[in-house]
Structure formats: C-alpha cells, structure tokens
Symmetry: C2
Subunit: 393 residues, 2 copies
Amino acid sequence: MSDADKAMALCAAADALRQDAKDILAANARDCEAGETRGLSTALLDRLRLDPSRLAVIADSVDAVAALPDPVGQEIDRRIAPAGMVLRRVRVPIGVIGIIYESRPNVTIDAAALCVRSGNAVILRGGSEAVHSNRALRGSFARGLASAGMDPAAVQLVPTQDRDAVGAMLAASGGIDLIIPRGGKSLVARVQADARVPVLAHLDGICHTFVHAEADPDTARAIVVNAKLRRTGICGAMETLLIDRDYPDAARLLAALVEGGCEVRGDDMVLELEPRAVSASDEDWDTEYLDAIVSVAFVGGLDGALAHIARHSSGHTDAIITRDATAAARFQAEVDSAIVMVNASSQFADGGEFGLGAEIGIATGRLHARGPVALEGLTTYKWLVEGTGQIRA
Amino acid sequence: MSDADKAMALCAAADALRQDAKDILAANARDCEAGETRGLSTALLDRLRLDPSRLAVIADSVDAVAALPDPVGQEIDRRIAPAGMVLRRVRVPIGVIGIIYESRPNVTIDAAALCVRSGNAVILRGGSEAVHSNRALRGSFARGLASAGMDPAAVQLVPTQDRDAVGAMLAASGGIDLIIPRGGKSLVARVQADARVPVLAHLDGICHTFVHAEADPDTARAIVVNAKLRRTGICGAMETLLIDRDYPDAARLLAALVEGGCEVRGDDMVLELEPRAVSASDEDWDTEYLDAIVSVAFVGGLDGALAHIARHSSGHTDAIITRDATAAARFQAEVDSAIVMVNASSQFADGGEFGLGAEIGIATGRLHARGPVALEGLTTYKWLVEGTGQIRA
C-alpha cells in the first residue's frame, strides 16, 4: 500500500476506536472487575483501566502515527557500481512483527499503529488480564483498517491465552521476523532466553549519572533529582549516581535526593557526607530499583566513572554532568551504551522525547537498532540494481 | 584506536604476512599433504592450497581494507530534540564477531582485516583441514598488528579443533555479539539452527532471472548465459530462469544455455522448444545447483514471474530483463529479496562488485544488514545526546 493509503487506513482505525468507545470501555470494565476479583495490585489495575479520556488519547496517538513520515521507500544511499549499474538501498518493511506484552491495553493500539505505518503485519499477544480490552481494541482497529481497504489480517491478536502460544511465537522462525517484548523483566528474560526469532528488547535499565568535578552544581542537582525522581518506574530513570571525589558540592547533591524522598544507598564516603543514607551492598550496583531508591558511589575522576559504568551498566542510558568539553567527549566515546548523554536527564531516553514521533520500544542489543526504536527500526532495506545489460567479466 | 592507527596496524599485518611467507606456505603444505592423505577432493584441495602469488593477493587485500574509509565515528544523522538537546547517531563497532568457516585459509585474513578495520575483535574458527595454515596466518597477522601497537588479542583463533568449540561459540550470548558462518549449506544450517547469538548469513542462493516479453533478445541471452555459467559455484549464480510466454526469442535463449554447456531442466513448453532439455521435477524449483544446471519455467507475464519468485526464491538475488520501465519498477517493488536487479547479471551480487571494497558475507535475513555485508554491516550505532542542563517536565 502507498504512504497515503496506509495513513488513511490508520485515520480510519482511529475513528473506529472513537465510534466503538462504548463497547471498548465495557470490555475493559469486565477486565477490571476480573482483575479486582483476582486481587491485582492497585498499580496493575491502574495500568489496565481505560476511561473515555485515556481512550481518546489512544485514538489521537493513532492519528499522530498516521501523520509521521512513512519510512518505506526511503532511499538510504545510492552509488554507481564499478561496472556501471545504479545501486540504491531502499527501506522496506521487515515483514511480520510479534509483540508480546503485559497489562497496558494501549500497547495493543500503539504497536499496531506503528507496525501498520511501516508496512508490517503484526501479531499481538497481550496479557490474560486485558483479554477483553485487547479483543475489543483490536477488533475496532481492524474494522477501521478494513473500511479503508486494508486487509484486517495485518493486525492479529493471538486468540488464546494458552501460554504455549507464546512459545509458538518465539519458535516461529520464518513465520515471525522479529519479536518485541514489552513488559516486566521476567517477560523480557523469558523471551530473550527462548526465542528462535530475532528479538529487540532491553532487559535492564541500570542507568548511571556521573557528576564530574567540573559539573555546575545547580545543573547537577536539578538533573540528578529529575533523573531519579521525576518518574521512578521508567527504564530511563537513574539507578546509580557516581560522584567525582573532587566534586565540591556533593553534600548538597545527596541532601537534595534525600529531601526529594529518595532512599540513598551509598559507600563510606556517602555515609560520611549524608547521615540519612544507608550502606550499599554489592548487589546495589547491579540493581534496577524502578523505585525511589538510588545507589551512590564516589569515584576517582572520569577514569573511575568509566570503569564503574563498564562493569555495571546495562547498556541503556548513561550520562555525565560537566562543563568540561574534553571530559564530555571522552565519556561519550568510551561509554558503550545505546544512549550516552551530556548535561541532560536520563529520563529523556524515549522515542517521543527524541522527536521520533513514537517508539515501539528501547533496544539494548547490538544489532539492527539500538536505543529508542521507532518506525525506521521496523524496516529493513533491499538493494535495487539498475543495469543496462551488464555482465560480469 | 583512531582511524589512522587501525589502518597502520593493518598495513603492518600485511607486511608481516609477506615477511612470514615461507613459514605460512610451509604450514599450508602440511595441511595439503594431510588433506591428500585423507582423500580430500581436488576442489577442496585447490581451495586449501596457498602459493606465493595467492598469498601475495591475500596480503594486498589487507592493504586494500586498510585503505577503506573507517565507518566508526560516522554520523548517521543529527537532530534537535523537542527539549533542545542535540541528538546524533554515530557508528560504533558491534564488539566481538565470531567467524565459523571452512577450508579456504584466505577467509582467516579477509575476515580478520574487515573486523579490525571496523574496530571489532574477532574469534576465528576455521576448518580442521586448514589448521596449520590458519595458525600461521593468524600468528603472522597478529604479530603485525602488535608491532603497530594493537592488542593482538583483537584477532583470535580457537585453539582446538574440538567440535564442541563451535557449540560454545554459538551459545556465547553476551560474549560473542554476532556470528558469521562462511561455508557450505550444512555449516550454515547448523549455525542458524543452534545459535543463541545473532547470525548474519545466507543459507541458499536460489536466484531467478525473469526474461520479460519486452526484453531485448541480445541483452537477455548475454545476461542469462553469464548469470548461469560465468561461475556456477557462487551464491549469486542464476539457478532458475523464468521466461515470459510472450517472449519471442525463447528458443535461441534456451539453445544458448545448452550450447554453453548447461543442462536445462524445464517444463513442457521448454521441452517443446529445446529438444536437448530434460524434464524438471518439483524439487528443481527449490534447488541450488551450484553447477552447470538450470531449471527453466515459462510463466504468464510479470504476475506469473512474481508468483513463482514469491514461492521459490531464497531471498538472495532475483533479476528481470526488460526494456519496459513500468515492469522493471513493479518487479523491484514486489520482489522481496535482498538484491533485486534490472538488466544485469545476478553474478554481480558481491560486495566488491557493489563497490563496497570487500564483503564479510551476504545476508538474507531481515534484520541489521541485508545483501552484501561490508564494513558498515560490522558496526552498530549509539545515540549521543548533548544537553545544556535539560530536565524532563
């Protein structure tokens, strides 16, 4: 389908979600009731619950994806072969994307919209707690696509909640081209361990912020508090703070975290400077809290920070705060993570904040796509060779 | 290491190979003798054998790789985030590449040079029949690197011929970032089936050439004969010829193949036009002969060709011969293969012929890199974010 046809199909799907709001909310209410009966936590119930305004946001996000530029057909490069043929690399869809996810029903629509926009078919496997919501959302979305002439089979929902279905997806080499898990660590770990199909994912977001000796104290305090506490549950939240032993304003920095409501787990120097801190154990340096807890270590300058990060980073997002451009450049060159930041909060590690329009996930693997994965990451390319009768000598 | 340092290390490695020629050739002679004793085929012995001129070519190819532009540090794109940070995507090495290959000892050096040029470490696992050659080549190459200040551990050879070593490489998730198998179909199939590490490879090269009704007859004959017969053993060799039922010069096209020494296996219409042809079985359409044999089918126009290719192509290289630009464009849009050619011989499916300088292999998977994989395919990227104190709202 052309760029315009895909965009129109997505707008039709957004309209369908608006028209079907009553049925979708009724289906969601069934899931929420069942979840309450089953004793789901308040946090999980909140993730599961849709209301008219949340559903409107979901439908609007589909329109926003429709408005993004279509990566399919984009020319990556063009060259002339030694024998004279014109060679072009042009983006094409990957094929069939499998999404395995947990309670948030908005993932059903976000993932479907991004896959459709980039010309892929998608097979969705949501959590059992959202089964009615997901069926209603997918049904409405697919009807919208069909009304605009797209095959509704482009967006499929695994019809069973049988756990074997996940195993079948993970083994579907040749049938599914890429699996993207969205959810907690145990889900991602299972997918990574068992998949025979390529996987784009991140397991951990153990993000470090290093406050260099030459950091501006006000900037450092603002960024560190934001990186840790703005939202503690996202993968880009800072989990470990590294402070240069020569940084002069460490006590105020630690106090700001404690006074922001954060538990500080530190080494001896931290305990000395901040009496409200507790002692960190060895495991703290490898722990993603996703909570108002931070591990803090003093390090010997940039070398000490680089050594700590090389050992403990999960390769997601690491940041330096400094006014020293040489230190910043070396940090960016030597830290081997998907995202390496200078003087900014690691909470910006997000496709939307990067201006990519939306993201299907964040990847910390080393192949294909790294960091926030948006439409471009859902494409591959092919080589188009145009000759005038060339034969190889 | 910088671009210049890596290039100088490679030139030093090339010089080392020249200086150590006597020892390398002596080691190779041991392998060749052992191979003769073990009854290796003439073809395998020829692949295994080095002589002064072949070794000189290998050393020169290292200099050629040294002269290629370094992909590391290249900026893929640059944008300003909505919050004002400068975002850049910059190429970085993948990390540790595992190469699992068979008898040709030149792969030892070609692969090592490409990995070193792109900043990767490489773990080489060659075939047992080339064990002495590979040790001598790797030893000389690594000494050359070391003489220019590079850690020789950047290029390692698995010290044992134990088959378990391959299994260990395939399972080395987290230790090896990418496996590239180079060799016959059974090797590639084993690697693809067992690897827990990402793999770049192609299993089959079932390449089609479609002669459209509007093909120029002289062009079609020249390309078809070249695509099939120039070298029959390479993965870009044509294996199936599709002829439009409306193509007027089919008899001469078939005669040219037969007279070039090719066995033609065809459908009824082929047998009618070319009495020297034999009848094709169902398996012929899915067979990579790598020999002077071709399967030939008549198809109903472009639609027929697209349907046949969708069913039987291995996704490597498929070509159309036509003077009709609309047909060519539709063929390029709808054939979902790594390389789609118009009016050129599929034997051009090669990184060198594409002007990439050299190739580490050809990939028919859908992630990361597709078609000929050269230096760029041995890199990934990271996001560099430069802020001025931004915190997320």
